[in-house]
Amino acid sequence: MASAAPTAIRRFRQGALDNASMIVVLLVLLAWLYFRVPGFFSLVNLQGLALSVSQVGMVACTMLFCLAAGDFDLSVESVVIFAGVVAAMVINATGSVTLGIGAGIVAGGIVGLANGLLIARLRVNALIATLATMQIVRGLGFIASHGSAVGISNERFFALGTGSFLSVPNPVWITVLCLVVFGLLLNKTTFGPNALAIGGNREAARLAGIPVERVKIAIFTLQGLMAGFAGVVLASRMTSGQPAIPSGFSLDVISACVLGGVSLSGGVGTIQGVIVGVLIMGTVQNAMNLSGVETFYQYIARGTILLAAVLFDLYRRGRRGV
């Protein structure tokens, strides 16, 4: 029986192997793009690609935990918008960039906490609860911004979203940092395995002494904070707090996770998988833009990818015998 100590690198490799099929898909995709879509591998495009996936990538870090624990969160898209609006308003009101960023993040956290209490304490179904908060928070965003974009007066704020370091845009660095931090949380702390256990068998986890409610509340609160942060970064990139952004972000994040091997039924998920899933989604979208595919067709494509992701999850579940 194998008894070698799993080092961090070995664990990472093991997780990558588990997602081997999706990595192959990504490589095939990239190969196809290399030959068929000119300009994909240009530096400018790759920077744009990385930037576009950065938002999904950030929230996917926490969505991983949410799905792993057997829940859903549809409210993240509204939180992103709301946090951006809050950040913009606070910066304009106080002139302090730090306060604005903090306010945006905290606003997200409060929504997350509300989600957590609804779902863990009051036992409301996660899908329904976050659907409800999604609507409520979207409404709050409109109310707060009076329906129009909130321009930001303090230009120092823009450095966050539009600046770059070593020719890599800041948001990308932030996303990479998030992936590392949450990867460590998943693999190196009790938080990760606890979430996975809860998703795998909630009653077994409870009987084993895991504080199920507390863990779930923590997961949703963290997700709220992260979505808030993503909203702040987005506001920085757009130099304003926008109350209206095409919806579907929550599902994009969930799709990316599912493509990355995170099971919709809970109990399974790796950070390596999430990375791959995010890249696949972003690559497909970017390629469509490059090829000049009309927006309407892109909707069809996104829906098809989500369907493919769910079917693939079912297939894997079937193979796992769940």
Binding site: A2, P193, L196, E203, A204, L207, G267, R320
Partner: protein
């Protein structure tokens, strides 16, 4: 009607080999018409293989099957059916979308020049079902019937084909008590009509209730043949099934008990009709016996804090303890393995290592950081100590056998500073050999000074392993008997609901 002595079904020297394993070797069986003959044995003893040979699915490598003296050579299942052999498997061979009547006569539906004769079909179906005493509407889709009734349709199907030999493979695993009794009534009726019944089951109480004779298979061979079940006991059969003496099966050895390690007083909560009090000493094995609905599981869950108690005092090693949640119980050294491994115990997609460490992870971790090395060592230690058979520590828990899964749950419970272990039906759904291993582990734990509480609905098991038997009935504890005073009769009488006992 007494069975005639001339056997109708005669199997001799049946052998069957599969790649790498001799499934059956020289198995002989003779059953007279009107007899109910049980076939028992551990998992892997060869029961299913034998049934498949009987029903024509497999052909034996050697040996003969004779019906009424005539040697048979079944090439497929249809040959066997035509010869009058019907096997009713756990997975019923019915078409859910078709009606009862259609299922009864599938393959030979009554027709007029090719047109389905619905009226004749319905009439014939009603006749068959009435003969069985079943009140099922033949026009109903089989898929909408509850399992017990579907089983009846399967039996009616067998009878409509004039089956002389009817074999049942684990028929009661999903039936309620009442449905089981209904099935037994039908089996007795089959007996009276001169049919020959073969009954394969793990549940020895049922074998004693409805069968006349029994053949014990072990490792593909006949280990024992008992022509009159009245002459043997449950333990005799178990001993033959595993090939060890009864003492070796239950691993019981008297030991000295220390001071009380768990004291429960006035416990009240959902599932208990009256307050419960219980005391377990160090090194003592307390068996809690009761019938369905007696409250065994509820009691254990209340002690463990899995269900919040409404009232009661608990003391662990003399010190008062407030146990309102599983985490609190674990902190006080009380461990628990749940009744339903699948629903409440195993996290199916996580590894053996993770499952074993589920409870202790928090304790081992420092500032929330996992201590992988300690976890791995804990898992390795328990895998060795409990002899858990798994391909590796990383194997997914779902792939383990029932017995090994139970051991994983036991390992989880034993991780950490444990003083008392509460085991709820620890050997449910596990075959006899693996049960014996778990009894051995229980005895070991008690020998090491732990207090052990085992709740079980299997009376021989409780009588076999416990130092003291606590009897529950309809939500309350009615007696606490030391081993010497706990006889089968006495315990059963105490466990039966009051009205039945008064009547009986």
């Amino acid at each position: 009607m007494t069975p005639t002595t001339e056997p109708y079904l005669q199997c001799e020297g049946i052998s069957k080999r599969f790649p790498g394993v001799q499934a059956l070797e020289g198995v002989a069986l003779a059953v007279a018409p009107g007899a109910v003959h049980a076939l028992i044995g551990e998992n892997g003893a060869g029961k299913s293989t034998f049934l498949k040979i009987l029903s024509g699915v497999y052909a034996p490598d050697a040996g003969s099957v004779r019906l009424g003296g005539v040697p048979q050579a079944f090439h497929n299942a249809r040959d066997a059916i035509r010869a009058g052999v019907a096997v009713i498997y756990q997975e019923l061979q019915l078409v859910p979308q078709m009606t009862v009547a259609e299922n009864l006569f599938v393959g030979h539906l009554p027709h007029r020049c090719g047109w389905l004769d619905k009226r004749a079909l319905r009439a014939a179906a009603e006749r068959q079902l009435a003969a069985l005493g079943e009140d099922i509407d033949p026009g109903v889709r089989v898929g909408s019937l509850p399992l017990a009734q579907r089983q009846m349709v399967e039996i009616a199907k067998a009878l409509s084909r004039d089956a002389a030999v009817i074999a049942f493979d684990e028929p009661t695993s999903s039936l309620s008590e009442r449905e089981v009794q209904r099935l037994f009534a039908v089996i007795r009726d089959l007996k009276a009509r001169g049919r020959l019944v073969i009954y394969v089951s793990h549940r020895l109480q049922e074998v004693f209730e409805v069968c006349d004779a029994v053949t014990v298979l072990r490792d593909g061979r006949v280990a024992a043949e008992v022509s009159d079940l009245q002459t043997v006991t449950h333990d005799d059969l178990v001993s033959r099934m595993v090939g060890r003496s009864i003492a070796d099966v239950y691993h019981y050895a008297p030991r000295t008990h220390g001071p009380p390690v768990l004291e429960v007083e006035g416990l009240l909560g959902p599932g208990l009709a009256a307050s419960a009090s219980l005391s377990v000493a160090q090194g003592e094995i307390v068996g809690i016996f009761g019938l369905v609905g007696a409250g065994r599981t509820e009691l254990l869950r209340l002690i463990y804090g899995a269900t919040r108690p409404a009232a009661g005092h608990v003391r662990v090693q003399g010190a008062p303890a407030r146990i309102l949640s599983p985490a609190a119980a674990i902190a006080h050294g009380i461990a628990f393995t749940p009744e339903d491994r699948k629903q409440e115990g195993i996290v199916p997609l996580r590894s053996v290592r993770e499952n074993i460490n589920l409870s202790i992870r928090r304790v081992l971790a420092k500032w929330g950081i996992l201590r992988s090395r300690l976890e791995r060592q804990n898992a390795e230690r328990h895998v060795e100590r409990l002899r858990i058979r798994a391909a590796s520590l990383e194997q997914v828990a779902r792939d383990l056998s029932g017995g090994n899964q139970q051991k994983v749950l036991l390992a989880r419970a034993l991780s950490g500073q444990v003083k008392v272990v509460l085991l709820d039906e620890p050997t449910r759904g596990i075959d006899v050999g693996a049960k014996s291993e778990i009894y051995g582990l229980i005895a070991e734990l008690a020998g090491q000074g732990l207090g052990v509480v085992v709740a079980s609905s299997e009376l021989p098991e409780v009588l076999g392993i416990a130092d003291r038997v606590v009897v529950m009935r309809q939500g309350q504890i009615v007696a606490s008997l030391p081993r010497a005073e706990a006889t089968e009769e006495r315990v059963l009488k105490l466990a039966l609901p009051v009205t039945a006992a008064a009547r009986g």
